[in-house]
Amino acid sequence: MTLSREEVLGRLGGVGYVADPQLATAIVLMQQLGRPLLLEGEAGVGKTEVAKALAAVLAAPLIRLQCYEGLDASAAVYEWDYQRQLLAIKIWESEERSAEEKERHIFDEDFLLKRPLLKAISMAEPPVLLVDEIDRADEEFEAYLLEVLSDFQISIPELGTVTATAVPYVVLTSNGTRELSDALRRRCLYHYVEFPGEDKELRIVLARLPGIEQALAAQVVRFVQALRKEDLRKKPGVAETLDWAAALVGLGVTDLRSEPEALHESLMCLLKTQEDQTVVPLEVVERLAGKAV
């Protein structure tokens, strides 16, 4: 089932994800070519959300593999359940069975702990596999992942080779803390996620917080857009915008200018380092709020 671009756009909108046609095109190509999608962009622009929305659109389960330094095969691919194997041996000690039979039983799929990668390729229906922050994993793991992504098969010495019955939709995200290999980049479709523009962010806020007033939402978005232009260490992401908007709704603020003090205090939703909070004192908040209205 390959959806057209318009269908993808419509369905993404249906699950509350505001997408642009560029991303929809990438998703269509993902289905056509069976290639993974590599998402890059600053922290907080909503890269992980893409995978979640995709899973919702395709009504497929989402399998997530969070990468970190030192991630190895036993955490990413599979592992034998040693304790259960041991127990099984103890239980079977008294039974009259041949050693081969016992061994065959021990290395049965019942004792196999499937980790995300193996789980993703052994499902009957294609799932969405999210490989989050691939740049944090070691180069060795990246090379292994590349192999899995091109063949969609994993070999388990005791069981044999598991080949994917349904090729999963793979989404990789990267924050650019490490240069990814050219081989992986070439294997993937690429999408660079930028901070949404004013218009798009407003649509996101309205889609995610149906209870918010249009006027306040517009003010919030304009404020955050202006705040991102300030010299900050960590620019507030879309998630922060949503948090802040929800906080303002909860505080009963209807206009940003009305209570500058409360506004300034609620900025902890947006500015997450102490330095950034000192960079944006009350006066700056008032100035930005004045402009946003």
């Binding site: 095109t25 990438a26 030192g70 034998w80 041991l86 050219d182 690429y190 660079y192």
Partner: protein, 394 residues
């Protein structure tokens, strides 16, 4: 190219379109995009699928397929327009000739082959690759020893220059050998890998006969070298560039930057296998020098743009500078403080400490000192070698 068109032609979609797509992929490749025939084939397939009449649909499809990095992503539109919409053929060829993947791509500003670094680099051409030969481990021997103690300023003979440069490269190699050996020996105590012990004991009926130990993932020491290439340092730059090249060659994870009025990432240029090419690229990059040395501002660029990606848990930052900053000292102090928070150690090498009666009176220097873990001389090769035991302890 024609072979590619043949393949694509048979893949369907008409020869003319195939020719245009191949041409486009070729232009992208000339512009440093990592694309080739497989991408061209997929591109053609996508172009046929994406209602050719709609230009934007083709653009979106090609962008997803053919870009591989943020830089590509931002440059794609321009190249696409130039090629498919023909906004001036002349311009298109200029974009095509402008080989941009590589360190120049990320640089602000142009690339005029001028400035202090240029001539300095060209003066020491030749005799580069031999230095990487098999004897890197032995380090300085024989007559080279006497050179080691000579202040680098007083070496003028060109042959001597080459030898000093080789020596510093070899020194870097020797440092790295010692470091890795110490790493291996430093491991004290081993940890049991419980899962594996249980796994191993299965065949002994649950008795742990064979113990398994957790392998420690060696975390390599990373080096980040930031070199001051300003006029007041130019007497030394040659040697340090050579030294840095040695460091980059022999450390698995090392990055190098040069600054004068602004900061430039030079690792990729220095990693060029061909020494002449490397120096040429360096000379190309050393551009737009003004007067004055902006240490604070350069470090700010580093902290903002590079620190997150090059500084990991075991990273030593080595700053090579005389500390003469034309910017405000507070700025330098603030940036040093920020860097200190990330880096495991900051080493400041100042060639002038080697001079008799030197006191760190330069305002910038005294502002930076509180954040420096090791403040050491670097006026001759011996002083560089003295760094090694310090780095090995990290």
């Amino acid at each position: 190219m024609s072979a590619a068109v043949e393949i694509l032609g048979t893949a369907g979609g008409g020869r003319l379109l195939a020719r245009r797509v191949v041409g486009f992929v070729r232009v992208l490749r000339d512009n440093g995009f990592p694309v080739g025939l497989p991408e061209a084939i997929d591109g053609l397939r996508a172009a046929r699928a994406a209602e050719l009449g709609r230009r934007d649909a083709v653009r979106w499809a090609f962008r997803s397929l053919l870009c591989a990095s943020g830089t590509d992503w931002r440059r794609f539109d321009q190249i696409f327009d130039l090629y498919w919409l023909g906004h001036g053929r002349k311009q298109a060829t200029r974009v095509a000739g402008h080989k941009a993947r590589g360190p120049q791509a990320g640089l602000p500003g142009g690339q005029t082959p001028a400035g202090p670094l240029g001539p300095v680099l060209h003066s020491q051409r030749g005799g580069g690759l031999e230095a990487e030969g098999g004897d890197g481990r032995r380090g300085g021997a024989g007559s080279a020893e006497s050179l080691a103690a000579t202040d680098l300023r007083h070496i003028n003979d060109p042959e001597e220059l080459v030898r000093v440069s080789d020596l510093s490269e070899r020194l870097a190699a020797r440092m790295r050998y010692r470091l890795t050996r110490r790493e291996r020996h430093r491991r004290r105590g081993r940890r049991l890998d419980l899962r594996r012990v249980i796994h191993n004991s299965i065949r002994f009926g649950g008795t742990p006969m064979k113990l398994a130990y957790r392998k420690r993932w060696p975390k390599p020491l990373r080096l980040v070298v930031i070199l001051d290439a300003s006029g007041s340092m130019s007497l030394y730059s040659t040697f340090f560039v050579r030294f840095i090249r040695g460091v980059l060659d022999h450390f698995r994870e090392a990055e190098a930057f040069v600054f004068h009025t602004r900061l430039i990432h030079i690792s990729a240029a220095l990693r060029e296998r061909d020494t002449e090419k490397a120096l040429e690229r360096m000379a190309l990059m050393a551009s737009g020098w003004d007067s004055g040395t902006k240490i604070g501002e350069s470090l700010a660029t580093f902290n903002r743009g590079y620190a997150a990606s090059v500084i990991k848990s075991r990273t030593a930052v080595i700053i090579v500078s005389d500390g003469y900053d034309t910017g405000p000292p507070e700025r330098l102090a603030a940036e040093m403080r920020q860097m200190k928070r990330r880096a495991k150690r900051i080493v400041w090498l100042n060639p002038m400490i080697g001079w008799r009666d030197y006191e760190p009176v330069a305002k910038g220097m005294s502002a930076a000192l509180p954040f420096v873990d090791l403040f050491a001389p670097a006026h001759d090769l011996q002083s560089l070698a003295a760094l090694e035991p310090y780095l090995a302890k990290l």
